[in-house]
Structure formats: structure tokens, C-alpha cells
């Protein structure tokens, strides 16, 4: 199970436990560095980020005259934390209607994350509606509608095959008319290297932008936490098509570490807002950099 659920006390212990166990030699040797490198790579940080971190660690070790592997723990943890931003407040207040657009590759967890997010916002007293913008995948509309029933949030939908831009447009008008103050727009999963589908996404965004000034106020890219280095390309390509404001990383209840977010965040300059920790409505939590870093070294 994910480390997020078990609270800080245990995470700290497990972080230091694991790394303490691992870096147990008497002095820093090549083996120590190899071990650190292996950990980072296996957490999906990717070669480049891994090398950057190790480079930094090495210079810190030199400058601070660190001799014991023990001392590397603190520096490693700090250097990883320095690469991560905490989540921002979502930009969804101070206006009649805020629109959140949710995008990502097939099966990354968009629809489920939308339901979880809507549930969270509803509980915070917001008046939320969902737009069934995935008109392509079989039963995608049904899926969102079922979630809507489950969490008691209305879903504005059209028929399968309808133009997703038109769905978004209609949903915005319906949301305005019925006085909802947050509309979350689901979109069909699409591979970022599919030119036409990325164009389609850009079009949906521009429809939203025309219908509500300044919208979409949040565009959240959903990344599957089990993804490897391809996440960076996903980030780049989606960012070319639409302006991304934040990330959601799902499936971190798995044994995957999600280390690819380091490079994605660095590249896109957007924070991870939420992480998905399961399939239930409550399994979406604010991203916590400390817990995240500690969990990288947690041995499942």
C-alpha cells in the first residue's frame, strides 16, 4: 500500500530506514553511489534527472566534506525536495463559473480523477457540474454519469459521437443557466503523438476560452503513475496543444514510484496538484512533496 495513507511518522521512518539500511557502509564508496543511482532509476526518475541529482550530491559531499554514507541521506532528501513544488490553490474562485479541463492519454485515470475531484469540491461546499466530453470511447459517457450519480453531481452530456467542443459549449451554457460555479470537463483519452486528436483538444480548449473569459481556469494533465520516461513527451506534447496549469498523478497506490514527475515538472513548470491513491472517491489527495520523496525509497 502507498505510503501516503500511513502518515508522516511511518514515512520518515521508512525513508531513513530504507536508505539507512542501504547506505550502511562505513564510508562513501563507489558502491554507495551506485546504490543511490539504482534507487533513483528504479523510481523512474530517468537517467538525466538521476545524473543531475548524483552530480549535485557529489559536489555537496566534496564541499561539505561528507565521509559517511549516513550524511548523504539528508542531502539526498533535500536535493530531491528542492526539485518539487508544492501544489497551488486551484484557480477556481472569485467568479461566477470556473472551468476545469482534464486531459491525458488513454486510461491514465481522467474520468475517475474528475469524479474524485468533484466529490472533494462538493464537500467543500462548491456547486459542481461535470461535462461528458469523451464522446468517443465506448460507454465513456455512461461511466461519468454513473460517477455523477454516485457522488450526487450533475453530468451534462450529449450523444456518443457528438463534437466534444459542442459538448463543452453546451455544458458551459447549462452550467451558467443553472448556477453551477464549477464545471469539470472530461475529455477522451488521446495519445500525444496523434496530431488530429491534439488539434481536436486545442479546439475544445478554444471553445471553452470563448465561452467564458479566462477559461479554462485550470487545465489538469493526468499522468499514470506507472508510466516511465514517456511521461515527459506526454507533458511536452499536451502543453504544445493546450496550456497546462497542473498535473494529477494517478495509481500511486501501486508499487510504482512516479519519479518521472521530476522531469515533467521541471520541463513544464507546473506543479503536481493531486495524486490518485485508489479507485474510491476519497482516494485523491493533495500532492505532498515530502511524503512523495520519502515514498520513493520505500520498499514495498
Amino acid at each position: 500500500m502507498g505510503i501516503f495513507k500511513s502518515g508522516m511518522a511511518k514515512t520518515r521512518q521508512s525513508f531513513f530506514g530504507r536508505i539507512g539500511q542501504m547506505l550502511s557502509g562505513r564510508q562513501i564508496t563507489q558502491e554507495t553511489w551506485d546504490e543511490i543511482e539504482a534507487m533513483l532509476i528504479q523510481a523512474d526518475l530517468g537517467l538525466e534527472t538521476t545524473e543531475t541529482v548524483i552530480e549535485y550530491l557529489r559536489s555537496a559531499a566534496r564541499e561539505e566534506r561528507l565521509t559517511h554514507p549516513d550524511q548523504l541521506r539528508r542531502v539526498l532528501r533535500e536535493s530531491l525536495l528542492a526539485l518539487l513544488d508544492p501544489p497551488r490553490e486551484l484557480n477556481i474562485s472569485g467568479r461566477d463559473l470556473s472551468v476545469i479541463l482534464v486531459i491525458g492519454v488513454n486510461g491514465s485515470g481522467k474520468t475517475t480523477s474528475i469524479a474524485k475531484l468533484a466529490h472533494r469540491l462538493k464537500r467543500a461546499g462548491r456547486n459542481v457540474a461535470l461535462a461528458a466530453g469523451d464522446t468517443f470511447r465506448a460507454a465513456a459517457i455512461d461511466q461519468l454519469q454513473k460517477w455523477g450519480e454516485r457522488i450526487g453531481v450533475p453530468v451534462i452530456a450529449n450523444k456518443p459521437g457528438a463534437d466534444p467542443g459542442a459538448v463543452a459549449y453546451d455544458a458551459i451554457n447549462a452550467a451558467k443557466a443553472r448556477g453551477y460555479d464549477i464545471l469539470i470537463v472530461d475529455t477522451a483519452g488521446r495519445l500525444h503523438n496523434n496530431y488530429n486528436l491534439m488539434q481536436e483538444l486545442a479546439k475544445v480548449r478554444s471553445v471553452i476560452a470563448k465561452a467564458v473569459p479566462g477559461a479554462p481556469h485550470e487545465t489538469l494533465l493526468v499522468l499514470d503513475g506507472t508510466t516511465g520516461q514517456n511521461a515527459l513527451k506526454q507533458g511536452q506534447k499536451f502543453a504544445e496543444a493546450v496550456e497546462i496549469t497542473g498535473l494529477i498523478v494517478t495509481k500511486l497506490d501501486s508499487t510504482a514510484k512516479g519519479g518521472m514527475i521530476f522531469s515533467v515538472m521541471t520541463e513544464l513548470h507546473v506543479p503536481v496538484q493531486f495524486v490518485g491513491l485508489g479507485e474510491g472517491v476519497d482516494d485523491l489527495v493533495y500532492f505532498n512533496p515530502e511524503q512523495f520523496v520519502d515514498s520513493l525509497f520505500d520498499q514495498d
Binding site: M1, A38, I41, Q42, A43, D44, G46, L47, V105, N106, G107, S108, G109, F136, R137, A138, A139, A140, D142, Q143, Q145, K146, W147, R150, G189, L191, H192, N193, N194, Y195, N196, L197, Q199, E200, D224, T226, T227, G228, Q229, N230, A231, K233, K251, D253, S254, T255, A256, K257, M260, E279, D300
Partner: protein
């Protein structure tokens, strides 16, 4: 962008100077590059280590080939070892009492349901009557999804909604399939994490009740280091019989294929290459293609990326503009065809062209046949005057006869090309709209059919 392995190795050996013997040190340097290339492609670290040490030995022991540069030789060794590790494409084992049962398992969002439908379709193409069972009672509307797909492809779907237990549904579904005299039953199961003991237990139940011929682990080609845990976890509990790699129409390097194959030893049976349900979007696995892709060498992926860049950045814009103004000429058509041929075989290329990737091609693609056809079309257009290419409307009967003669074909063939071109125009106009359901001409014995 990542440098390809060949570029990297080249630079290692460039330092060597001409005619130098390959020393152990050189091999070590080369192996460092191999290691990096594999890691960048998401091959899991333990697998990379094994692989590199195996290849290192081979490289040191290898006889120096006169015709190959050292870098080429190392690439060849690596490439061969990769293909060997990836293994032969596995065939489905559907022998024994009818109906044969295939159980699909995997993580959430890996593409099981879509793959079930594709597999059903391709089995039916082979003349085996498929039957689907909807045993995902967890994800909202998963049952509806399979039902919709079943309807779309005309394959019966057994379902009991979501209140029964998946293992009971599977068992009763199997009964129903027997009665329906189905040849192959495909059981769709809910996505789950391999560490979820209860849900893994449920799969064991389904397995016990349906005695599947095949248990196929469906995995996302974009999977990272986690691939090892996923494959090991599912294999331990279920003794899987094969792997299917999905979303290969993406641009992930696909190292997960190597990781999963290496830790389970089971063959990769198919790769999924599109969202649309077509038998064609489920391809037989070709180890050399995935090997190329993992290494990032002159491979399909590079081609795809090239093709994309080409089309995305200039072509798409330029062509769209032309199409808007209705100025897409036969000359453009010819240029497109030539580009397509330069990029590789047509079936590989089809998926690279925006819009075409969603195309529903029916039946298997015969590369040679299609390439022959393309060459024919090229010949025909080449026999036209510039004026004719720019303005096909002037192509009257006598001009057509001349062109046929010039290119050594029948007038009928010339007519076909002109018709194709007109259909291409319609197609291109549809491309702009993104997804489109049907392509006139292309699926019914047209140029690409």
C-alpha cells in the same frame, strides 16, 4: 530528444581511430552506452544489468568482422541479443475442448476491454466464433463498454450487470458460450494492482472456474520500471501464458516489453496499435521492430516521429491550406506517395499519418501488394504532364489513353488513380475534422485495400 544508440556507439568508437582493435576497455565504454540506451527506453534496471553483462561477454569474444566497423558490430550483437530476449512472437493456444478460454488480466487502464474486442474481431476473421464475457463489475460502465463494443463488431457479450461475483459471471458465461457453440471465449476482467491480494484472489477463482487456455497480461507500452513488478506479480499468482503490449501507436520506447518478457519468460503475443476496434489494430508482435524501437535506431519510431514532424509542421498545414482552397493536386498526391514509400512499408506508415492511424483497415495488409500498387500509381502520375497533374479536370479520354500507354498500364488503371485522387481529396477534407468513421474507397479494394 534522445540520441540513438547507433549515434552513441559511433562516438565511442570514433575516438578509437581507424583500424584499431577493439579492446576490453572499448567494449566497456560501449556497454555503458548500451546501458544508458536501455534505461532511457524504460527497460527495468535488473534486466538491463543482466542483458548488458551477457552482451559484454559476447562482444569481447566476438570475432572482428572485416566488413563492419566496431560500432556496427556492437550494435549488431546488441540488436541480435535484444531480439533473442524479446523472443519469437507467441501464437494463441486454442486447442482442447471447445470453447477455448482466454482470460485477459492487467492493471487499471492498460487497455484490456478494447483489446478483448480487437481480439474477438481478429478471431472471427480467422473463422473462429468468438464470445465475450463482461466480468469487470468494478469500474463504472465497464460492462456497458464491452457491450457497446460487442454490438459494434457483432459479437455476443455475456453480462450480468455488476451485482454478481466476477467468478460466477465467468462460469455462467462459459456455460452460455458452450450453448451458443462459440469457439473462443474471451473473459474481460477488472483492472487491478498485482499487490491487491483480494482482487488477485478473485482472478485465481476465475481461473479455477474457467480453466483458461490462455491468460494474457495486457500491459501499457508506456510502463516504466514498474513493469517488472507487474509482470512478476501477475505471473506468480496466475502463471500467465502471454503478454499483449498496448498503445504501441504512441511514441514510448517500449522497454517494458523486454522487462516483462525477461522476468516471465512468456511470449509477447500481440501489440495494440490503435483505439478503433479493428483486427488490424491488434498486430502480431515483431521482435525486431520492438528491438529497433527500444534502441532508437533507424526504426519505426524514428520514422513515425519524422513523419509526424514532417506532416505536423509543414505538410499538414500546407495540405490543409491547399485542401481548403481545393488545390490539392495530383502532384501533391504523387509527392505524398513518394514520401510514404521512402518512410518504409505502407502498413507501418499508415499509422503515422495523422488521421490514418484511426483508420479501419479491413483484412491483413499485404505489404508487397500494396507497395506494388503504389509504384503503379506513381508511374501513372509520372506519365502525366505538369499541367495535367495540377488540373486533373483536363484529363479527357485521349489524354488518359496516352498516360496509360506511357506508364504501361490499362486505361482502367488510370481511371482508378483519378478516382482515388478524388477520394483522397474527400478523405483529406475529413482529416481536418479529426476522427472520422469511414473512409470511402480505401477499405473496399481501393489503392490501399
Amino acid at each position: 530528444m534522445f540520441e540513438s544508440l547507433s549515434q552513441r556507439l559511433q562516438s565511442v568508437f570514433d575516438k578509437l581511430g581507424k583500424g584499431g582493435r577493439v579492446s576490453e576497455q572499448d567494449v566497456s565504454n560501449a556497454m555503458r552506452e548500451v546501458r544508458m540506451a536501455l534505461l532511457e527506453a524504460d527497460v527495468a534496471l535488473p534486466i538491463v544489468k543482466d542483458f548488458v553483462s551477457r552482451v559484454r561477454e559476447q562482444a569481447i569474444g566476438a570475432e572482428v568482422h572485416k566488413s563492419l566497423r566496431p560500432s556496427q558490430q556492437v550494435i549488431k550483437i546488441v540488436h541480435t541479443a535484444l531480439i533473442e530476449t524479446l523472443g519469437e512472437p507467441g501464437r494463441l493456444n486454442l486447442s482442447g475442448t471447445k470453447p477455448a478460454v482466454i482470460m485477459m488480466v492487467g492493471l487499471q487502464g492498460s487497455g484490456k476491454t478494447t483489446t478483448c474486442a480487437k481480439l474477438a474481431l481478429s478471431l472471427r476473421k480467422e473463422g473462429k466464433q468468438p464470445f465475450l464475457i463482461a466480468a469487470d463489475t468494478y469500474r463504472p460502465a465497464a460492462v456497458e463498454q464491452l457491450m457497446t463494443l460487442g454490438k459494434q463488431i457483432g459479437v455476443e457479450v455475456y453480462q450480468e450487470g455488476v451485482s454478481a461475483k466476477p467468478e460466477d459471471i465467468a462460469q455462467r458465461g462459459l456455460e452460455a458460450a458452450r450453448k451458443a457453440n462459440a469457439a473462443v471465449v474471451i473473459v474481460d476482467t477488472a483492472g487491478r494492482l498485482q499487490i491487491d491480494d483480494n482482487l488477485m484472489n478473485e482472478l485465481e477463482q476465475i481461473k479455477a472456474r474457467t480453466k483458461p487456455n490462455e491468460i494474457l497480461l495486457v500491459a501499457d507500452a508506456m510502463t516504466g520500471q514498474e513493469a517488472v513488478n507487474i509482470a512478476t506479480g501477475f505471473n506468480k499468482r496466475l502463471s500467465i501464458t502471454g503478454l499483449i503490449l498496448t498503445k504501441v501507436d504512441g511514441d514510448a520506447r517500449g522497454g517494458a516489453a523486454l522487462s516483462m518478457r525477461a522476468v516471465t519468460g512468456v511470449p509477447i503475443k500481440y501489440i495494440g496499435t490503435g483505439e478503433k476496434i479493428s483486427a488490424d489494430a491488434l498486430e502480431v508482435f515483431h521482435p525486431e521492430r520492438i528491438a529497433d524501437r527500444i534502441l532508437g535506431m533507424g526504426d519505426v519510431m524514428t520514422l513515425i516521429e519524422k513523419a509526424e514532424q514532417l506532416y505536423e509542421e509543414e505538410e499538414a498545414l500546407r495540405l490543409q491550406q491547399k485542401m481548403l482552397e481545393n488545390k490539392f493536386t495530383l502532384q501533391d498526391f504523387l509527392d505524398q506517395l513518394k514520401k510514404i514509400r521512402r518512410m518504409g512499408s505502407i502498413s507501418q506508415v499508415m499509422g503515422m499519418i495523422p488521421g490514418f492511424s484511426k483508420m479501419q483497415l479491413q483484412g491483413k495488409i499485404d505489404n508487397q501488394e500494396i507497395e506494388g500498387r503504389i509504384r503503379k500509381v506513381e508511374a501513372i502520375i509520372s506519365s502525366m504532364t505538369r499541367q495535367e497533374r495540377e488540373n486533373p479536370r483536363i484529363l479527357n479520354a485521349s489524354r488518359r489513353k496516352r498516360i496509360a500507354k506511357g506508364s504501361g498500364v490499362e486505361v482502367r488503371d488510370v481511371n482508378d488513380v483519378i478516382k482515388q485522387y478524388q477520394q483522397m481529396q474527400t478523405l483529406m477534407a475529413q482529416l481536418k475534422k479529426g476522427r472520422f468513421p469511414k473512409i470511402p474507397g480505401l477499405t473496399d479494394g481501393g489503392l490501399f485495400g
